[in-house]
């Protein structure tokens, strides 16, 4: 369970988040959407343990999140953030303990569909492949929570759809709670069980929208489109 209570985060003079109560149940997939500057990435960074100094509480499975991060969290950023000098295998190893065997790493690389690329360097990979290496790194350790910060926003439309399907596939194998931050309403609704809408400056929760559909989903399903409209309305677009 991921939870924040009256989370307020201030950078110098600007308040990024004000009194945000956020929760994601075990195994739940929650999308967080909002306009630029609403603090949605800040929320994710707090949960990832990358922000020190905030008011309120933030916890993952009851353990307070502090700067330094938790072992139980995997994070995928907007860009893959791979070590350019390290092979795919060594990049995924970063997510593990140093003592992990190559076999375990290679299993994971296999699972994200990059079998045969263990010894490739990041520069040899396409954007989508590099992002999958980042996902494999995030899944090392079998984290309780997978935090995704606009992981598909830098990809072209076709690759994006591929990677979204891929994320859903991988998620079937693990039972991590997923929090996806995105500015893409369609993506948020299609992927998640629930969509949390942040708005305003400083950001606060303005809506919490359930997505009443089982998976696999049809992207053109009426109910999906209705939900999308509810989210868009909440955004005030």
């Amino acid at each position: 369970m991921i939870e924040t209570r009256s989370l307020t985060k201030t950078y110098d003079d600007t308040v990024a988040l004000r009194e945000v109560d956020f929760a994601a149940d075990d195994g739940e997939f929650v999308s967080v959407v909002g306009p630029s500057g609403c603090g949605k990435s800040t929320l994710l960074r707090v949960l990832a343990g990358l922000e020190s100094g905030f008011d309120g509480t933030a916890s993952i499975d009851g353990t307070p999140v502090n700067a330094g991060g938790s072992d139980d969290v995997g994070v995928v950023f907007q860009d893959p953030r791979l070590l350019p000098w390290a092979t795919v295998r060594e990049n995924v190893r970063i997510g593990f303990d140093e003592s992990v065997t190559d076999d375990r790493i290679d299993d994971l690389i296999d699972r994200v569909g990059l079998d045969g690329f263990e010894m490739a360097l990041p520069e040899e990979l396409s954007g989508g492949m590099a992002q999958r290496v980042a996902l494999a790194r995030g899944l090392a350790y079998g984290p309780q929570a997978l935090l995704l910060d606009e992981p598909f926003s830098a990809l072209d439309a076709l690759t994006k759809v591929e990677q979204q399907e891929f994320l859903l596939d991988v998620r079937d194998d693990i039972d991590a709670t997923v929090v996806l931050v995105t500015h893409d309403v369609e993506e948020a609704v299609y992927l998640a069980d629930r969509v949390v809408v942040l708005g305003g400056q400083p950001g606060t929760v303005v809506a919490d929208v359930e997505v009443p559909l089982d998976r696999p989903r049809d992207r053109t399903d009426e109910r999906l489109i209705e939900t999308r409209e509810r989210v868009t309305d909440a955004l005030g677009v």
Partner: protein, 277 residues
């Protein structure tokens, strides 16, 4: 319609410019293009030869290329040249070894620790501006005219580029990568080994390249003033003996040695920094 033509004209220039820039990029330089670098020096030697044969320069001012060559071939045959060469190369090698090592130590410490940087960097930054020749009297006083004075001077020359580049390289490490390391709780030593040092390696090699270059500058300073052997000594001996062929030949030898060492470091650079094309 003039505006359209202007626009097209501008675009054409733009395209030519980008093509030109692309063509000039180092990656485009293959073997045949590198051989082109020999054309201008070759023409200069021919011109030099003509200037002497036409009597524009007197041989006691500027000897003919063939005179220089035969003098050095003779010195090579008698074994005299190899003594000077090996002494100079040895001095540079030791100077580079000590200078680069010290540069790595200080660069790492100031790169990693803000306090060390605040304490040391202003001093080192101002020391790097002291001209090489200014150190010579002091080093002679401290170390006498032996090898240690020369090697220390060369080491000092090699030190600064390594120190400066490595220190800024470590300090400038990508914050995004450090966040990844933070999220996955990578230990301190592991972070240094797997992230910080590889990230700073390109800077280190740029520093070493500069350091080796400066080592050749400093060895001349050291040998011109206090030496009984070495290429620098040969240079000043040529002046004393009024032998311009020896002076010119020594200069050319310095140029080729500097060039060779730079090619060597560049090859090392390409090998070690394999990930950035």
């Amino acid at each position: 319609m003039a505006t359209v033509e202007d626009h097209d004209g501008v675009t054409a220039i733009g395209e030519r410019l980008t093509a030109w820039v692309r063509d000039r990029s180092p990656s485009a330089i293959g073997f045949p293009r590198r051989a082109l670098g020999l054309v201008v020096p070759g023409l200069l030697v021919v011109g030099w030869h003509l200037l002497i044969t036409q009597g524009v320069f007197q041989p006691h001012q500027l000897p003919a290329p063939m005179t220089v060559l035969s003098t050095f071939v003779a010195m090579g045959a008698s074994g005299e040249l190899w003594g000077h060469l090996s002494v100079t190369i040895q001095r540079v090698a030791f100077g580079v070894l000590f200078g680069v090592s010290a540069g790595i130590v200080f660069g790492t410490i100031t790169g990693l620790f803000g306090l060390a940087n605040d304490l040391l960097d202003p001093l080192l930054q101002s020391m790097k501006n002291i001209p090489s020749l200014a150190w010579v009297p002091l080093f002679l006083l401290w170390f006498g005219i032996g090898e240690s004075a020369k090697v220390t001077l060369i080491a000092l020359g090699a030190f600064f580029p390594v120190y400066l580049n490595l220190s800024t390289g470590i300090q400038g490490i990508d914050e995004d990568l450090l966040e990844v390391v933070e999220v996955y709780d990578v230990g301190r030593l592991e972070t240094l080994r797997r992230v910080v040092f590889p990230a700073a390696l390109p800077n280190l090699l740029v520093g070493i390249r500069g350091g080796v270059g400066l080592a050749w500058m400093f060895v001349v300073a050291a040998e011109l003033i206090a030496a009984s052997q070495g290429l620098g000594f040969l240079l000043s001996d040529g002046r004393v003996l009024a032998r311009p062929d020896i002076i010119v030949g020594s200069i050319l030898l310095f140029a080729s040695l500097g060039n060779l060492s730079d090619i060597g470091v560049k090859a090392l650079q390409r090998r070690l920094v394999y990930w950035s094309a």
